[in-house]
C-alpha cells in the first residue's frame, strides 16, 4: 500500500468566501471553473495560480461547466441557468427552472446544455439560440424525483435523483429514458459519473459506498458489477461512515478518484478492484474533484459540505480551499494483474 504524500498540493489564491459546490477543468486548457455558495463562479488559471474572472449571481451557484475556453455555464439556486462569457466578463440568462438548478452538463456530442433541478425536471437548452427561454429551451423532461447528479459520456446521459432513482437517456431521443433503474446502493445517491469508455457509471452514496454499474443488460455485463465500501473509519468502538461527495475519472487511465466527508481523496482501479493511492488528509470535507484534460493535475475542493449541520464558527485551517496537485503516474496508473504461478 503506497503511503500518503505529505503535501496536499498547491492552494489556489483568492478562493471563494463560502462553500465550494463544484469545480471543473476545461477540456482545452488548465483553466478551472469553480462555483460556490458565495453566489459566485470563478475562473482560475490553475497552472499559473491566477484568478482570471468572477461572475456574481442572485443566489448560491450549485454547479458550473465549460462550453469552451471562452465561455461556460452556471446552475444557480435562484432557479436560473446562465451563460458566462469569460473575455467580456458578461453573463446572460439562458432560462429558468421552477426550483434551484442542481446540476449542469454541456454535451459536445449533441451541442446541447443539460440541466437538472429540484423541480423534478431535466431541461435541454440550445446555447446557440438567441437568449430568452423560448428560443433556447429544447425540451423539458419530468423526473421521478429531485435531480441530485448528472453525468454524460458520448450520447449517453445518466440522471441520479432523490429516492435512489437512476434514469439513463440517449440524447438523440430524450422522449423517454432508455433505462429506468434503482440505485443498487441502499442510501441516498450523492454523485454519479460515467466511465470514460462509455460502458457504465460509478455511483456513490451518503453511506460510504461506491457502486460500479454497466449499461449493457446482458447477464455477462451485469455479472461484472460490484460495490465497495470506502471513506469510513473506526474510532472509539464505533464505525464512522462518511458520504462520498465526489468521483472523478482519470482521462487517460480510466482509474478514478473519490472524495468524502472524511477529508480523504482515494484513487481506485475499478478493473482490478484495488485502491491505488490515498492522499494525505485535507483540512475538511472533499466537496469536488476534477482531473485536467491530460490527467496531470487534480483539483481538490476542500470545503465543508454541511454534513453536520450549521457550524458556529470555522477553524482557520478548515477554511474553504482549492488545491491543485500534480499527479504522479504511480498514483493513477493501474498495476498489471499478477496471477499466481499454477501448481506444478
Amino acid at each position: 500500500m503506497a503511503t500518503a504524500v505529505l503535501t496536499t498540493g498547491r492552494e489556489l489564491s483568492n478562493p471563494p468566501s463560502d462553500g465550494i459546490t463544484n469545480l471543473r477543468f476545461s477540456n482545452h486548457s488548465d483553466h478551472l471553473l469553480v462555483s460556490s455558495w458565495d453566489k459566485s463562479v470563478r475562473l482560475y488559471d490553475a497552472s499559473a495560480n491566477v484568478l482570471r474572472g468572477e461572475f456574481m449571481h442572485a443566489g448560491p451557484v450549485l454547479d458550473c461547466c465549460f462550453h469552451d475556453d471562452s465561455s461556460g455555464f452556471s446552475a444557480a439556486a435562484d432557479n436560473t441557468v446562465r451563460r458566462l462569457v469569460f473575455s467580456s466578463n458578461k453573463e446572460d440568462i439562458l432560462g429558468r427552472h421552477d426550483a434551484p438548478v442542481r446540476c449542469i452538463e454541456y454535451s459536445y456530442a449533441a451541442g446541447q446544455l443539460i440541466t437538472g433541478s429540484w423541480d423534478k425536471t431535466l431541461k435541454c437548452w440550445d446555447p446557440r439560440g438567441a437568449s430568452g427561454q423560448e428560443r433556447t429551451l429544447v425540451g423539458t423532461y419530468p423526473q421521478p424525483e429531485r435531480v441530485y447528479s448528472l453525468s454524460l459520456v458520448g450520447h449517453r446521459l445518466v440522471v441520479a435523483t432523490a429516492g435512489r432513482h437512476v434514469n439513463i437517456y440517449d440524447l438523440r431521443n430524450m422522449s423517454q429514458p432508455e433505462q429506468r433503474r434503482e440505485s443498487s446502493l441502499k442510501y441516498q445517491t450523492r454523485c454519479v459519473r460515467c466511465y470514460p469508455n462509455g460502458t457504465g457509471y460509478a455511483l456513490s452514496s451518503v453511506e460510504g459506498r461506491v457502486a460500479m454499474e454497466f449499461f449493457d443488460l446482458s447477464e455477462a455485463s451485469q455479472a461484472k458489477k460490484y460495490a465497495f465500501k470506502c471513506h469510513r473509519k473506526s474510532e472509539a468502538g464505533r464505525d464512522i461512515v462518511y458520504p462520498v461527495n465526489a468521483i472523478a475519472f482519470h482521462p487517460i487511465y480510466g482509474t478514478f478518484a473519490t472524495g468524502g466527508c472524511d477529508g480523504y481523496v482515494n484513487v481506485w482501479d475499478g478493473n482490478n478492484k484495488k485502491r491505488l493511492y490515498q492522499y494525505s488528509k485535507y483540512p475538511t470535507s472533499i466537496a469536488a474533484l476534477s482531473f485536467s484534460r491530460d490527467g496531470r493535475l487534480l483539483a481538490v475542493a476542500s470545503s465543508y459540505t454541511f454534513e453536520e449541520g450549521p457550524k458556529a464558527g470555522t477553524k482557520a485551517d478548515e477554511q474553504d480551499a482549492i488545491y491543485v496537485r500534480s499527479v504522479n503516474e504511480i498514483e493513477v496508473k493501474p498495476k498489471p494483474k499478477v496471477y499466481p504461478n499454477p501448481p506444478a
Binding site: 455558495w37 429506468r180 464505533r238 464505525d239 496471477y339
Partner: protein, 371 residues
C-alpha cells in the same frame, strides 16, 4: 435445477464465508482481515487457531468461533490457510453446488415497453426462480394464546415459480379477533379476521407491467431459528395484525451488490446488510446512529422483505452515519438557512410591484397621494 454450476477451477474461495477470489494471495489477505483478526487489538493473525491462541495468551479471553463465518464453519480447530486445509467433503460440496443456490444478480431495470419488440422480455430479464428458504423447516411451535387453525382449513399451495399460477386460496371466516399474545411467536400467524382480504405477496418480473402481478408464495417474515419467543422490539417479531390487513407487496431485492472488502479499502472491515421488516426495526448487525444536527429521525434504507435470516454475527461496532437524512440532500438542507434564501428576479419584481400597489392603496385611504 440439477445442473452443475459452471465454475472456473482457477477461482479460489474462502472456507469460512464462501466468497470467491481471483487469486490465493487476495484470499489470504481477506481471511486475515475478516476471520483471523483479533477483536481486541485488531492484530491480523495467519490462522484461526493462531488468533484463538493470541487472544487467550495476550488478552486472557477465549475465542471459540471464527468471526464472520457461516454457521457450521466457525470452528477454530480446523487449520485453514487460503485454500489449504479445507476438508475434502466441503471442497466437493462447494464445486458441486447447484445453479439455483446463487442469488440472482440481474439488475433491477425498467425498460420502457415501446422498446421491446412484440412485447417480449429480453432473455436476461425473463428468467428467475424464487429463492429457497435458508434454514430447514422448524418444528411446530405452539402458543396457547394463538388459536390453532381447524383441520378444515385449506392448506396453502407449495411455493411455485413466479411464472406459474397457483390456485387462489380462500380463507373461511374466523372467530372475531380478540387478543394478541404479549410475545408474538415467530412464524406462527394468528388467523385473519373476517374483514381481512387474503394476504398476497406479489413480485413482478422486470420488464413486465405491474398491472398484472403474479402471486408468489412467500413467508410474511424472514425465518429466524430458535428465537421462538421474541419480544415485540425484535426485528423479526410478528407485529399484531390490524383489524383489516392490506395486501403486502414487498420490494424484492434481486440486486444485492457484491462488496469488495479489500484490506486496502478502508479501516472498517465489518460487513453488514440492513433488512427492513414491516413492523420492526431494521435488522442489522450494527445500529445506525443519527447524524448530528440533521433535524430529523434517522431514516434507514428502504424496506426489503428477505427470505433468508442474517447469518449470526459477532458483536460489532455501532455504525454512525454522518449524513442520515434520506429525505433531503445536504445542499437542500443548507439552502434552508436564511443567508441563502433567494427569490429569482421575476418574483423579486412581483414583490416590488405588490409593495408599490400596497403603498398607493394606503395613501389613497389616507386621502393623499404621497410618493
Amino acid at each position: 435445477m440439477g445442473k452443475k454450476k459452471k465454475r472456473v477451477s482457477s477461482k479460489v474461495w474462502c472456507y469460512y464465508c464462501d466468497r470467491e477470489f481471483d487469486d490465493e494471495k487476495i484470499l489470504v489477505q481477506h481471511q486475515k482481515a475478516k476471520h483471523f483478526k483479533c477483536h481486541v487489538c485488531h492484530k491480523k493473525l495467519s490462522t484461526a487457531g493462531g488468533m484463538a491462541i493470541h487472544v487467550l495468551q495476550v488478552h486472557k479471553e477465549s475465542v471459540t468461533k471464527v468471526p464472520n463465518a457461516k454457521p457450521g464453519r466457525e470452528s477454530t480447530d480446523i487449520e485453514i490457510y487460503g485454500m489449504q486445509g479445507i476438508p475434502p467433503d466441503i471442497l466437493a460440496a462447494h464445486y458441486g453446488e447447484e445453479e439455483d443456490d446463487v442469488p440472482s444478480k440481474a439488475a433491477k431495470v425498467d425498460i420502457p415497453p415501446t422498446q421491446l419488440v412484440g412485447g417480449m422480455i429480453p432473455p436476461p430479464l425473463g428468467t428467475g426462480y424464487p429463492s429457497r428458504p435458508a434454514l430447514p423447516t422448524m418444528p411446530p411451535v405452539y402458543n396457547p394464546a394463538v388459536p390453532v387453525p381447524p383441520n378444515a382449513w385449506v392448506v396453502p399451495p407449495r411455493p411455485q415459480p413466479w411464472f406459474s399460477q397457483p390456485p387462489v386460496v380462500s380463507v373461511p371466516p374466523a372467530a372475531p379477533y380478540t387478543q394478541q399474545p404479549l410475545f408474538p411467536v415467530q412464524n406462527v400467524r394468528p388467523p385473519l379476521p373476517a374483514t381481512a382480504p387474503a394476504l398476497q405477496t406479489q413480485i413482478t418480473p422486470p420488464g413486465l407491467p405491474t398491472s398484472a402481478p403474479v402471486p408468489v408464495s412467500q413467508p410474511l417474515f424472514p425465518v429466524v431459528g430458535n428465537n421462538h419467543t421474541t419480544t415485540q422490539s425484535s426485528a423479526f417479531s410478528a407485529p399484531p395484525l390490524p383489524s383489516s390487513v392490506p395486501s403486502v407487496t414487498p420490494v424484492m431485492s434481486t440486486n444485492v451488490p457484491v462488496d469488495t472488502h479489500l484490506s486496502s479499502n478502508s479501516s472498517v472491515t465489518s460487513s453488514y446488510q440492513a433488512i427492513g421488516v414491516p413492523g420492526g426495526a431494521a435488522s442489522n448487525s450494527h445500529s445506525y446512529a443519527s447524524g448530528p444536527n440533521t433535524g430529523g429521525p434517522s431514516i434507514g434504507p428502504p424496506p426489503v422483505i428477505a427470505n433468508k435470516a442474517p447469518a449470526p454475527q459477532p458483536a460489532t461496532n455501532e455504525v454512525y452515519l454522518v449524513w442520515d437524512d434520506e429525505a433531503m440532500s445536504m445542499e437542500e438542507r443548507r439552502m434552508s438557512l436564511p443567508k441563502y434564501q433567494v427569490h429569482d428576479e421575476s418574483s423579486q419584481m412581483s414583490s416590488i410591484d405588490a409593495a408599490i400597489d400596497k403603498r398607493i392603496l394606503e395613501s389613497r385611504l389616507a386621502g393623499r397621494m404621497a410618493f
